[in-house]
Every structure is written in structure tokens, then in C-alpha cells.
């Protein structure tokens, strides 16, 4: 879904040239650019746009607003990266707009997935052992519900936060772009 403008946004947009300083105008353009970028990325995430359509629309937005802040784009793309989901669309975008970031990001995600797999496997084994010891329940039909295991969920949350921090650091380090 594209960005939806509030009445205030529309009024501000229409009247922005009337009383703002040059600096304020630039800041406002950046805000508009950021919002439209978010809308564009959402459409891309929802599979409503191909990669080529995304590129085309991005260029059109940049030209119409006169803003080409690559670091902002990278920041927004990195915000979309979710270590527990398929990140191919975001890595494809980064390959075009910040190719030197794709390898470090892939390493971060790979490391997270390996650690998550180990955590879930160990958690499953312990869960099944507890079920057997405490309740005499066992068998090939039994599958743990690790969403109910607070310890596992807390550890996962910590790991996810670590990934987020690393991605944010990468985003900050991308200020040399653009």
C-alpha cells in the first residue's frame, strides 16, 4: 500500500514553500522521501512490485523530491531485514545499492540461523526429557512446543536483538555511501 497522507501532510505540502527556511525545506523533503520510501519498500515486501518496478519508482521519487539520500535508503532496507524470515528480497536490493554490505549481512544472518538451530535442538531435547521424566510422556509422535518455553524464548529474543544491533551498526557505517 502506498503512503497515505493526512490532511495536515497535504496542507504542509501545499504550503511548505510559503514560510520555511532552506534548511527546513530540505528536512521536510527528507521526511517525505522517507515516508514514500517506506511505502515503496512495503509494496516490494508484499510482492506488489518487481525489483525493476521498485528501481523505477525509486528513481522517480528521488527525482521528484530532489532527494537521493542513499544512506536513508540503506537504513530503511536494513530495518526490513528479519533474521527469522526470508531476506532474499532485501539482499537483492542491497546488492544493487550497497553491494559491500551484502556479505557481512549474510554472515550475520547465517550465524544467527546456526545459533538458533542449535538452541532449538538443545531446547527440544531438554523439553522431551522433562516431559518423559516429569510426566512419563514420550514417543515418536511427541513434538515440543518451544513457544511455551520461556527460557528458549528469552534467549531467542536476546539473539534477535544482537542481530538488530549489528545491522544498525552496519547501517551507521554506510554513511560513506551517497
Amino acid at each position: 500500500m502506498g503512503d497515505i497522507k493526512s490532511t495536515l501532510d497535504l496542507v504542509m505540502e501545499k504550503t511548505k514553500h510559503l514560510s520555511l527556511s532552506a534548511e527546513e525545506k530540505v528536512g521536510q523533503q527528507r521526511d517525505v522521501y522517507e515516508k514514500r520510501l517506506k511505502g515503496l519498500l512495503q509494496k516490494y515486501a508484499d510482492d506488489l512490485q518487481t525489483f525493476e518496478e521498485f528501481q523505477k519508482q525509486l528513481k522517480a521519487i528521488q527525482e521528484s523530491l530532489g532527494v537521493k539520500d542513499l544512506q536513508l535508503l540503506i537504513h530503511q532496507i536494513l530495518k526490513c531485514v528479519d533474521p527469522d524470515r526470508n531476506n532474499t528480497p532485501w539482499l537483492d536490493l542491497l546488492e544493487t545499492y550497497a553491494p559491500s554490505l551484502t556479505t557481512p549481512i549474510q554472515k550475520i544472518l547465517m550465524s544467527y540461523l546456526q545459533r538458533r538451530e542449535t538452541l532449538l535442538q538443545e531446547g527440544s531435547q531438554k523439553f522431551l526429557q522433562r516431559l518423559q521424566n516429569d510426566h512419563q510422556i514420550q514417543g515418536s509422535a511427541v513434538m515440543p512446543n518451544l513457544n511455551q518455553d520461556r527460557r528458549i524464548q528469552q534467549k531467542l529474543k536476546l539473539m534477535q536483538n544482537e542481530v538488530r544491533d549489528k545491522l544498525d551498526s552496519l547501517a551507521d557505517s554506510s554513511k560513506n555511501y551517497g
Binding site: F127, L131, H135, Q136, I137, Q138, G139, S140, A141, V142, M143, P144, N145, N147, Q148
Partner: protein, 222 residues
């Protein structure tokens, strides 16, 4: 109603309200309750348990054949007991997908319905009770049937009934899967067909005949 020394049925017979049949497997060591039903109608199960000198606190494990409210809603009544609860993960996912609507329409919160673990196709051993869990989707995506080999009892939920079969028009229902599931369960050596609704079918010949009749009469309509 006692079916065998270890197997009891709490059949729902009221024509005025919908609810399911509930079953109990009770041995020296353990008690498993299958499909506790609607919360508002659970008192008939409580009376049945009481007749056996049991209470809700006596139950070790609740198994739901599928996650429809008329089979599962009463699980929340066990929140303050030590009973564990299980069902197939695919049906739990169905519940999660419908969670906002459940809260809005039925006032149901998921906290007291969340399964302690899931079951998939395979063997389930609870103390001295051995069960085969069969994945039998079709009425719901994660429907299961339980086979208690000791008594040759097949508990099918809403997969098949005496003279009928489960509906496939609810979320996650699929006719082809239902037919396949019924045909697989027909191959088991069952002396009891214990369905989610309606009468119990007893005797190997009667169970087999029921499978054949249902296939002959109803498969063409799916």
C-alpha cells in the same frame, strides 16, 4: 458409559445444543481425556468422571482430535490443574490464524488453550498407555485419529461417524484429504469406532461395514 475396562465414553445426546462425545482412557497409571468439548456443557463429563471416582484433577493429559471449539473449548477449564494438553501443530496454527476473531466473537483468550506440546503421526506413550497417532486431515488441517491397540479402539474426531463423514467446508477442510484419511483408517483393525458425534460403532464387522457404507454413500458427493 464403560466400553472396556480401560475405555469410557461420555456421549453427547442432546438434540438441543451442539457438543462432542468425550472419551477417557483410564489405566492404573494414567488418565487421558479425549475431546473435552464445549466449556458450557462440560458438566456432563464432570458427572461421568465423578461416577468413576475421578475429577478434573485426575486427568494427566488432554488430547484434542482437532481444534474446533465444540471439541476443544473446555480445555481452558483445566487451567488450574496439572493436566497437559496436546493436539496437532497444524490445527493449533489454524487457531492462531483465527485468534482475533475468537476473542471478538467468543470472548476466548488463547492463554488457557495453548498446547503444552504437539503430536504428529507416530507413537504416543503416556505411562502404561500406548497410542498410535494418525494424521487424518480433511475435516481440519491438523485432524488426528487415535488408535488404542489394546482395545482395538479408533477415536476419529469428526473424520467419520456412524453412517456419515465430517464436513469439509470449514477453514482448512479438504474433501480429497478427508477421503484419503478415511480410507487409511479403514485399513486398521478396529473393534470400536469412537467418533466425535453420534453413536459408537462396536464390533470389527460393524466398523468395517460402516467404513464401506460411508465410502459407497458419500464419497461421490465430495
Amino acid at each position: 458409559m464403560q466400553l472396556t475396562p480401560n475405555l469410557h465414553a461420555f456421549l453427547w445426546t442432546s438434540p438441543n445444543a451442539n457438543n462432542c462425545n468425550t472419551y477417557l482412557i483410564k489405566t492404573e497409571q494414567k488418565r487421558i481425556l479425549i475431546d473435552p468439548g464445549h466449556a458450557a456443557h462440560f458438566d456432563h463429563v464432570q458427572r461421568g468422571l465423578s461416577d468413576l471416582n475421578l475429577s478434573m484433577d485426575s486427568i494427566d493429559l488432554i488430547v484434542c482430535t482437532h481444534a474446533h471449539p465444540d471439541h476443544m473449548e473446555a480445555v481452558q477449564l483445566f487451567a488450574d490443574t496439572t493436566a497437559l494438553f496436546t493436539l496437532h501443530a497444524d490445527d493449533w496454527q489454524m487457531v492462531l490464524d483465527m485468534a482475533p476473531h475468537l476473542k471478538q466473537i467468543m470472548g476466548t483468550e488463547l492463554d488457557h488453550l495453548t498446547p503444552d506440546f504437539f503430536v504428529n503421526q507416530g507413537q504416543l506413550k503416556v505411562g502404561d498407555i500406548d497410542l498410535e497417532i494418525h494424521s487424518t486431515p480433511g475435516h481440519s488441517p491438523g485432524g488426528i485419529s487415535l488408535y488404542y491397540a489394546q482395545d482395538k479402539a479408533l477415536l476419529t474426531g469428526d473424520l467419520i461417524f456412524k453412517g456419515g463423514l465430517g464436513r469439509t467446508d470449514l477453514p482448512g477442510g479438504k474433501s480429497e484429504l478427508l477421503k484419503d484419511s478415511i480410507q487409511r483408517m479403514a485399513l486398521l483393525d478396529s473393534a470400536w469406532l469412537l467418533s466425535g458425534h453420534g453413536d459408537v460403532v462396536s464390533g470389527q464387522a460393524a466398523v468395517q461395514s460402516n467404513f464401506e457404507q460411508v465410502e459407497r454413500m458419500w464419497f461421490g458427493y465430495l
